[in-house]
């Protein structure tokens, strides 16, 4: 029975999101902290170093950590204000069960955990093991991500576990694996300023990875030329040497068009291609028809821009590609990334100083979260769940028969499709909020309502947890200890600053408790996250993402260690592919010929406008944390629809008007923000809000066939002026989904 027990406004009144505006000790500077904890930001994949001030088991403020090499004290507004999520009035402090008509009522841990375990058993006995699914997240530490994968395969014995990194990094990862055999950014960020040509494809760096801005600007100070591809003129695009306002989904036009020109003008490294790659002939054949004019039609930009991009990228002595969700969130996301990376391989500019590429991982542990086995097709160490050798090794680490490990399960969106179809009946989720973050949100809500049992581990009652039968009060990043792996592949150490409040528990303890009640206590006998990490090290040994030589002590001493690090004596690997050694069995890089194809839903006469979605600088993902921090909400209180004045004029829309943006699947009513900084055929709505303000009401439930990432960056909508809404949801506070 997975429906909210009382109305949404009633739940909001009790559990928020409400705003924390004042530090735990007030705005009083006289209070001296007991301790300063050197740790990391809990938000995006940059994982900036930060020092938290702690007094009496409360986080009371922060101080920049200038000695941490990645960010040298730099922070974005989210990092500055992240400490305001502590001591928050909305914080869940006890496990709760749903009581129809009453709400959520606190219960003992024993009752909550027993209910979860008995429902897992009941559903699996009635419908089979795979009828119970698990969802993890890329904001979990490596230790917790590893634990979730093991919990699924050893204790729950379900094939169906996946994670919200599926909504974020998987296209990039799949493309990198196909071409180089490793899913990781190829270079540390320190290579960026040493590069002479930089291509930023589909990455709003200033808002989604703000710290990276300094690296880009430093490259420009050193004489680099910067190319930015984006349908919106983002803050870094304003000062780029070449800004290409590419049509969403038209990126392959730019990449293949550039390669076409580079071949024509001799700006490729034929010696490197001959010695260190395979598949070039097919690429050369494919891009032959991508003349600047042909490419320009796909990209939706003037041909001269593509020529100029090739003229910057082609002859450069060093170069660096950065790509992110703008090219990855497509039903051809893997193709987009491969076409971009082909530009790197064709020039042979990889594996040395100032030469290479990176995917700008979006979530806190976006990198590590996708290596430790919480993906539906993966075992720890980045291993393949269908590879007999890999299965055998992990079975030996876990001390279970190889045949007891389930095979490949469903990924995130197909899990919800299976729930909707009645095939999956139970769900346990942690670190994700599908009711905001998944596409075609009304379908996801319908699916949630069909579950026979749903449990969520959460620190705040997220929009998804409202649908739960049992809510397990878990831990914030600073209430537990563990490691994450940042955007560069640098494994770093999150220190514990405070204990979880009230009766809340560390996430890993909750998972181990459930495993125990399912009869597997001896396989989950950890005294601390460090013991989980030590098992993870062994489990990853010999895998692609080999952490065996990394210890917490080394991380502290060396301010992070880059994987692969196969032995304690190994220095770690900041830069991959040195000496042109690639990770396929033949040691070569494998070009992938890429042909453009249309999006799942292109515009038509009924829905004539492209909608693209994304983030804003003061919010993070589904907003469960940032929509509770007053200073961040003030900065960007509610979603708006960015629309070009030419399009707005045609539709009779002025700045600040209420508009309805709607697709075939649903819509939002928000205010219009009329700006010249977006393509006139495209509108933009950021996605951090729920309910009638959820951009994902409109997005299309289409996924990339290889990576299974949803197509968040393009669908067809219409936009019209509407009166101010005054329904119960509209009247909520803006952070809860209201509109003003």
């Amino acid at each position: 029975m997975a429906k909210p027990p009382v109305s949404i406004p009633e739940l909001v009144a009790q559990f928020g999101p409400s705003l924390n505006r004042i530090p735990a000790t007030g705005w009083n500077a006289e209070v001296e902290p007991d301790r300063i904890v050197q740790t990391h930001c809990c938000f995006c994949g940059q994982q900036c170093g930060i020092q938290l001030k702690v007094k009496d088991n409360r986080v009371i403020g922060f101080e920049p950590w200038e000695d941490f090499p990645f960010n040298e004290g730099r922070l974005c507004p989210k990092g500055v204000k992240r400490y305001m999520q502590d001591e928050h009035p909305d914080r869940l402090k006890a496990p709760m069960v749903r009581k129809d008509g009453t709400g959520f009522v606190p219960v003992s841990w024993n009752e909550a955990l027993e209910k979860v375990a008995s429902e897992i058993r009941r559903i699996q006995q009635a419908y089979g093991n795979d009828a119970f699914a698990l969802l993890g997240g890329a904001s979990l530490t490596n230790e917790k991500a590893y634990l979730m994968g093991k919990f699924a395969r050893v204790a729950v014995k379900t094939a169906n576990i996946d994670y919200n990194g599926r909504l974020c990094m998987v296209s990039a990862g799949a493309a990198s694996k196909k071409i180089f055999g490793i899913d990781r950014s190829a270079n540390p960020w320190s290579d960026i300023p040493l590069s002479q040509a930089i291509l930023v494809a589909g990455a709003n760096v200033a808002e989604c990875a703000p710290i990276t801005t300094h690296y880009l600007w430093q490259a420009r100070e050193n004489g680099a030329k910067l190319i930015v591809m984006d349908p919106r003129m983002t803050p870094i695009a304003r000062n780029a040497d070449l800004y290409i306002p590419v049509r969403s989904g038209g990126d392959i036009g730019v990449f293949n068009g550039m390669l076409h020109i580079m071949i024509q003008r001799g700006w490729i490294d034929r010696e490197f291609i001959a010695q260190h790659t395979t598949g070039w002939e097919q690429v050369e054949e494919t891009v032959r028809k991508y003349t600047p004019e042909y490419a320009a039609r796909i990209a939706g930009v003037p041909a001269s821009m593509i020529v100029k991009a090739a003229e910057i990228w082609g002859p450069a002595s060093t170069s660096f590609l950065l790509h992110a969700r703008g090219i990855e969130h497509h039903s051809k996301g893997v193709l987009n990334c491969m076409a971009a990376i082909n530009l790197v391989v064709a020039t042979g500019r990889i594996g040395r100083e100032g030469c290479g590429y990176a995917m700008i991982t979006g979530q806190g542990n976006g990198q590590g979260g996708r290596e430790q086995g919480q993906k539906c097709d993966q075992l720890p160490g980045g291993r393949d769940i269908e590879n007999p050798e890999h299965r055998k090794y992990i079975a030996s680490v876990w001390g279970v028969p190889e045949e007891s490990i389930p095979h490949k399960g469903l990924s995130m969106v197909p899990i919800f499709e299976a729930i909707h179809a009645g095939k999956i009946k139970g769900l346990l989720a942690i670190s994700c909020n599908p009711m905001v973050s998944l596409p075609n949100n009304s379908f996801i809500r319908e699916a949630c309502e069909k579950l026979e049992f749903f449990a969520q581990v959460d620190f705040f009652l997220s929009e998804t947890a409202r649908y739960a039968d049992v809510v397990l009060a878990g831990s914030l990043m600073e209430e537990d200890e563990g490691t994450t792996t940042n955007v560069e592949g640098r494994v770093i150490h999150h220190k514990k600053a405070v204990n979880p409040p009230g009766d809340a528990r560390a996430d890993w303890k909750i998972i181990c408790e459930i495993a125990g009640r399912l009869g597997y206590a001896e396989k989950f006998k950890y005294e601390s996250p460090k013991e989980i990490f030590d098992e993870l090290r062994v489990a990853s040994k010999g895998g692609v993402s080999d952490y065996y030589g990394i210890t917490w002590e080394r991380i502290d001493r060396e301010k992070g260690v880059f994987w692969p690090c196969p032995s304690p004596e190994h220095p770690g690997t900041p830069r991959l592919y040195e000496g042109n050694k690639f990770n396929h069995p033949d040691g070569k890089a494998h070009f992938q010929a890429v042909e453009w194809k249309p999006a799942a839903e292109e515009t038509d006469s009924e829905y004539p406008i492209i909608l693209t979605t994304g983030r804003v600088v003061s919010h993070y993902l589904s907003g469960t944390q940032t929509r509770r921090i007053g200073a961040l909400v003030d900065q960007y209180p509610q979603p708006v629809c960015e629309i070009h004045p030419l399009l707005a004029g045609k539709l009779g829309i002025s700045e600040g008007d209420f508009v309805k943006v709607e697709s075939r699947r649903g819509g939002v009513t928000v205010r219009a923000n009329v700006v010249k900084t977006i393509r006139p055929d495209t509108v933009f709505v950021p996605y951090h809000w729920p309910l009638d303000r959820a951009a994902n009401n409109m997005t299309v439930r289409a996924i990339d066939p290889i990576s299974n990432i949803p197509e968040y960056k393009i669908c067809a909508v219409r936009v019209s002026k509407v009166p101010a809404p005054h329904d119960a949801i509209a009247e909520l506070e803006m952070q809860a989904g209201g509109v003003r």
């Binding site: 004042i22 530090p23 705005w27 009083n28 500077a29 403020g61 922060f62 920049p64 200038e66 960010n71 004290g73 730099r74 922070l75 974005c76 507004p77 990092g79 500055v80 204000k81 200033a206 808002e207 703000p210 710290i211 801005t213 300094h214 600007w217 430093q218 420009r220 100070e221 919106r232 003129m233 983002t234 803050p235 870094i236 304003r238 000062n239 800004y243 306002p245 939706g300 930009v301 003037p302 041909a303 001269s304 821009m305 600088v617 003061s618 200073a631 900065q635 070009h644 004045p645 030419l646 700045e655 923000n673 009329v674 700006v675 010249k676 900084t677 977006i678 393509r679 006139p680």
Partner: protein, 206 residues
């Protein structure tokens, strides 16, 4: 001129990404916790994403102090122009009107002017100001002049011409090498429009 072991404050407006980390961090500074002293101007959002941070420029001869009838605005030996002294400030707002950079703000709730003091509590003990420490783009930087000359293409200047008046400041701005002084003309200040950043124009091609 240089206090703080040769460390100086530099602003590079071209680097600013409008993220407001500076404002969020400014209000975490111990001497005025809860109140942000730095201003971030969104220039013309309909036309562009350009933004510009504004700290106190710490004039050599601060006009805010000159026009203060209560002698409430003091300059330190290092050249930092402090916020108003609470016992002296009468809230008259002369400084608010006189400052050519628009920095001082009158806070009615405490009947006092408050402004950026270059994090004097931090800089006087060898720390960097909050805003220039956290700024993720390097638009605000607190470092040595040598370091700036080594790592930036622009040139750091601190001389401004407001009509007939020359103003020299402690805070530097980074400008193209051809510029030696910033001439602020009144005509520039009115609202103008620009098509420079109009994506529709860019799409027309050449």
């Amino acid at each position: 001129m240089n206090g703080n072991g040769g460390m100086e404050f530099f602003i590079d407006h071209s680097r600013c990404i409008g993220c407001r980390a500076c404002m969020q961090a400014c209000e975490e500074c111990d001497t005025h916790r809860g109140v942000s002293m730095i201003h971030l101007e969104t220039i013309m959002r309909a036309e562009s994403v350009q933004t510009a941070p504004q700290v106190c420029m710490h004039c050599e001869d601060p006009i805010c102090a000159q026009v203060c009838p209560a002698d409430a605005i003091k300059k330190t030996p290092e050249g930092v122009v402090l916020s108003s002294l609470k016992p002296r400030c009468i809230g008259c707002s002369n400084c608010v009107l006189a400052c050519p950079f628009g920095v001082p703000k009158y806070k009615a709730e405490i009947n006092q002017m408050m402004k950026c003091d270059m994090c004097y509590d931090r800089t006087s003990i060898g720390k960097r100001p909050m805003c220039a420490t956290v700024c993720p783009s390097g638009a605000l930087t607190f470092t040595t002049r040598e370091n700036i000359e080594r790592t930036r293409q622009g040139v750091a200047i601190r001389e401004w011409q407001f009509a007939g008046e020359t103003v020299r400041t402690k805070v530097n701005v980074l400008v193209p090498r051809s510029v030696h002084r910033i001439d602020v003309s009144i005509e520039q200040i009115g609202r103008t429009t620009t098509d420079e950043y109009d994506v529709a124009n860019l799409l027309k091609g050449d």
